[in-house]
């Protein structure tokens, strides 16, 4: 098998018939709307059934980790907005927390709460974008418009707060650059007021929709043990009935102050992963509400040295990004630049399971499975 994949890995014509006429190689992507960016999937087909699959990634490789070794610590922060650009705050949060942990800086409680609010808003944005595009991939175009209506409302709040919608650079080393703006509470409450009903609307469109069910039930099944073996995290792992969430396992940024549930699926198929993400939206809503009600007074920035120079040492910090476990492994040599900064990208590791989840299914199901993995190629390739 290794030989043949290596062979098809060469730049080849779009599709060609193998020696054995029963088997066909099909290139899907990199320019394909349902690959969510520039993912190239090389499929081996028997009729329309997938017998083998190989992912060709790296089209967006920018060498972020290398760049980070050559930038000072504050300069690096915005780069982590640009890996997973639909959930920029998770990346930034992970990075600033890693540096803060190594410098043993205690971030003020108010900043921690604001971080939680913004990160959870961002999780909702990411899940809504996922839901909209996933539904389009499967053929339900309307859902996309519903999702973007609420996403827009949230992005407005984010824009009013930090001035940008996607690559927000919301957090700074040591806390927040700004405190909340005067209308923040009112705008957020307005959103929180309507959001649960909106989630019900999405569910009304999809959860018992016959076409949706027949396209997602039993597709891309992965068991809990297989999921652990292949390194799945986030909604994929929870969809396979493993109750695990970093916000509970290793609480950071005051997550242990809030009450929320970890939804799990029973069967580990595409439909369960859909249900898990829908329920996560409700839980995020709960967290935001609690954080907003309990928002403590005080400063939003810790006392930080003018020149950020973490001591010699190393640290690994992980956050629960909307995609899974996003980790940063930071090695410092005591200078103003990191010696090594490694990002554990959830999308990259989750995408690895595509092969396992797709073999035996039809080509159209590969689209559904890619959608349910929820990849962002900016993070896969970094």
């Amino acid at each position: 098998m290794a030989e043949t994949t290596r062979e098809i890995h060469k730049p080849v014509e779009v599709a060609r018939v193998m020696d054995d006429l029963a088997e066909m190689t099909l290139n899907m992507g990199p320019q394909h709307p349902s690959t969510h960016g520039v993912l190239r999937v090389i499929l081996k087909l028997d009729g329309e059934t997938v017998t083998d699959l190989d992912c060709d990634i790296g089209y967006l490789h920018r060498g972020v980790e290398k760049i980070c070794e050559n930038r000072t610590y504050p300069m690096i922060t915005p780069y982590w907005d640009r890996t997973d650009y639909v959930a920029a705050m998770a990346g930034t949060l992970c990075y600033v927390q890693a540096v803060e942990r190594l410098m043993q800086v205690e971030v003020p409680k108010r900043a921690q709460y604001i971080r939680v609010i913004l990160t959870e808003l961002n999780r909702l944005c990411s899940h809504l974008l996922w839901l909209g595009t996933h539904a389009i991939d499967i053929g339900a175009v309307t859902v996309f418009l519903y999702c973007f209506r609420e996403r827009e409302q949230m992005l407005k709040i984010v824009e009013n707060f930090v001035g940008a919608r996607l690559t927000c650079h919301a957090f700074r080393l040591g806390g927040m650059e700004w405190d909340v703006y005067p209308e923040f509470g009112r705008e957020l409450r307005e959103f929180l007021e309507v959001f649960p009903r909106r989630v019900d609307e999405y569910e009304a469109l999809l959860s018992e929709n016959r076409i949706w069910l027949s396209r997602t039930l039993g597709i891309g099944v992965i068991s809990g043990d297989e999921a652990k073996d292949i390194g799945l995290t986030g909604p994929l792992l929870r969809g396979s009935n493993v109750k695990w969430d970093i916000r509970k396992a290793f609480p950071y940024s005051s997550y242990d102050d809030f009450e929320f549930e970890i939804p799990v699926g029973a069967h580990g198929d595409t439909y369960d992963r859909y249900l898990v993400r829908i329920e996560e939206m409700r839980q995020s809503h709960r967290i935001i509400r609690q954080a907003l009600e309990g928002l403590p007074e005080g400063p939003v920035m810790a006392k930080m040295p003018k020149v950020v120079k973490p001591p010699v040492g190393e640290v690994y910090m992980a956050v629960e990004s909307p995609k899974g476990e996003l980790g940063m492994y930071l090695v410092s040599d005591g200078t103003t630049r990191p010696y090594r900064l490694r990002c554990r990208p959830p999308c990259f590791i989750n995408l690895q399971a595509l092969r396992q989840m797709s073999i035996g299914h039809l080509v159209a199901d590969v689209v559904a499975v890619i959608g349910s993995i929820d990849i962002v190629l900016g993070e896969v390739d970094r």
Partner: protein, 236 residues
């Protein structure tokens, strides 16, 4: 424990080609006069390394593998284990399958390059145990050109992670089912996360070939070597 602290090799501040700390701090003084007093105040502060040899799992490892467990410390509440490269695959197998350790999840696998150490490549495994909700970082050093046994039989996650480490660092993993480049193109030369690989490595032959840049000035340097101008050096 102070002896541990001295034993832990700091990541060789002078090893990279960065002009260590002094020039880097220079841009600050115009902003305020305070920073001059700060570095000495900050230098002693820093996370401490605590010995964790009495941790039950570390104790079992030490009893079984002896000197192969070179170091077991805790830094910032995170457990770090340094293991001799020859024994690393066995130690990992033990950690994976031992009924008390049960590290059933490979969170991450990566490498760090220390060009000036005798073992320049450090492979870092981040393990996690679901039943015990515990993390462990296992590190092992590899000499130049040495290979290490693949961890794919233990954790499926290692497949792509090892391919990435191979791609970006040139680490060879033996018995890996499919060791080829993953992020960079198959015919790329070099391993960009190694320290000798400059950031400004652009005008190389690969780019010229693939972008079909034919009219190259005869004196253009296509090796990727980059000379810093005095201005850049001063302002790094």
């Amino acid at each position: 424990m102070p002896p541990e602290e001295t034993k832990t090799p700091p990541p060789t501040p002078g090893s990279s080609d960065k002009p260590a700390t002094e020039p880097a701090a220079k841009p600050a003084p115009p902003a305020s006069s305070a920073p001059a007093a700060k570095p000495p105040a900050k230098a002693p502060a820093g996370p401490t390394y605590n010995d964790i040899s009495d941790d039950p799992i570390v104790a079992r490892l030490k009893a079984r593998f002896g000197a192969a467990i070179e170091e077991a410390v805790e830094l910032l509440g995170q457990q770090i284990l340094r293991v001799a490269a020859e024994q690393a695959p066995e130690v990992l197998r033990f950690l994976r399958h031992d009924p008390e350790a049960r590290f059933d999840f490979l969170t991450d696998l990566t490498a760090v390059h220390y060009p000036e150490k005798p073992q320049p490549l450090e492979i870092v495994y981040h393990l996690y145990s679901f039943p015990r909700n515990q993390r462990l970082r296992v590190k092992t050093g590899l000499g130049e050109g040495e290979a290490i046994e693949s961890a794919v039989p233990l954790w499926g996650t290692a497949n792509w992670l090892e391919r990435e480490a191979y791609d970006l660092f040139g680490v060879r993993f033996e018995h890996h089912p499919d060791l080829r480049r993953i992020l960079l193109p198959p015919d790329w030369e070099g391993h960009p996360l190694r320290k000798e690989h400059r950031l400004e490595y652009q005008e190389n032959d690969w780019v010229r070939r693939h972008l079909e840049i034919r009219d190259v000035h005869p004196e253009t340097d296509l090796t990727g070597k980059y000379e810093m101008t005095e201005f850049v050096k001063e302002n790094r």
